[in-house]
Amino acid sequence: MDHRPQAWGRPRDDVYGAYDASYLRSTGPKTATQAPVVTGTSVIAIKFKDGVVMAADNLASYGSLARFTDVKRLRPFLGTSVVGFGGDVSDMQFLDRHLNELAIDEAYEHETTASVSGPAPPGQLNAANLHKYLSKLMYRRRSDFDPLWNQILVAGFDSDKKPFLASVDLRGTAFTSPSLATGFGAMLAQPIMRRYAATEEDAARLSREEAVKVVKECMKVLFYRDARSLDRYSIAVVTKDGVELNEDEQLESQSWAFAERIRGYGTQTV
């Protein structure tokens, strides 16, 4: 009989062997996220005349396994901004919950007052404010050596009511540009988008239809070449009227004819 209550009701060591408690690890140094696990690939976005278009596919990969195929990686905020997440999906979900709280607080603080031009957005945080908030949050987390493993794009409008698009990554590096892309998109989609919106002036001349067309074309290029991508994607258009978000877009008119001409790797011997 073991007289110590801690040992009662537990598998006996002399029968089952000692319990391997190493995985519990409550002592020793604190270990934070050291690597992303379930990940989302590129997010792309481009500014146009009166808003911003953003897109990201609906895939969450577990390494090279296409694990979840219906993940929404674009998230509207207060009906006036869109946040797109690349990188770790659990960190994205944490941020999503956090932004939900923020949106609720914001909606309570500034009650909706309908104006002539239509219903006012609940709250006053615009995309520029939100981006500043997220970049401070990300920088703080990296300084604590507990980073949120994401690359984030924020789209919407700034305080001057001009289209706004900016990025922040896991180290808190924040920047803006007429078009932005994370991950593989920075290599594959960004050059295509820069053909249409190299400068702010170019972006201010781009129509909504053109911008959507360019983004869809870029999603196709990404699906052709990015092995961790999917042909189902979400696309969001932010204008002064609000956010139009379609989370079940299908890639159209694919042509894999180019694949036959690829030589140098794969199964062919020539």
Binding site: A7, L24, R25, R171, F175
Partner: protein, 264 residues
Amino acid sequence: MAMFSQNPLLNGPNYSFNDGPISNAPEGARQHRFDPYTDNGGSTLAIAGADFTVMAGDTRLTSGYSINSRHHPKLFKIGGTTSDQKDANIVLSVVGFAADGEALKERLDAICKMYRYRHGKPMSVKACAQRLSTILYQKRFFPYYAYAILGGLDEEGKGAVYSYDPVGSYEREQCRAGGAAASLIMPFLDNQVNFKNQYIPNSGEGHALQERERRPLTRDEVEMLVKDAFDGAVERHIEVGDGLQMMVITKDGIEEVLLPLKKD
């Protein structure tokens, strides 16, 4: 723990409380460590004149071989009373890790604003320079990875340039280049601003050679030097380009110009 074990044969842990070994990583396993720093490229430059200071920096932001942004300013007006900083009289340039640069700028700006409210006058460049050094050294063991240059006019109205390393060592200089192309620009500046290795022809042999007499450069000359320095850096360094942001600090305030650079 083991000395109270029910089973004397097992000398390991008995219970499911944790007292196991800290590391359970297999032999030779690679552990991914988070690196909190990156280098975002870019270059900065500052030259002090007799009654003005010129600060300059390119506007490219890179990570690796990618250009993140073609317009990301590295020059910031510091210590104004409003958010547009139109009554500021000090300029800070930061290059290195962009997120740390941004954090450093916000810290210094907040401190200069507090000084203004407490003392009812703007901070002198000398005081601001010492404070910036302290801010940097306070993070000595987790440094801001940023090369800062502070520019303004001193108490006598002369141009002042203070340059820093990431942990706060600083000195007042006539001119300084910082960042990715610093090693390309600095020798050019030594020769053209401080007239290093320039001698009066036929003034003697060997050590008897007389150095060319130093004189303060005019504002036009300095602006020309800055443009030439950056055109040269853009040609030979891939992380420098897109745009040149230049600020000229005089007793009348700060003038800002934006010029195009090669975008390749």
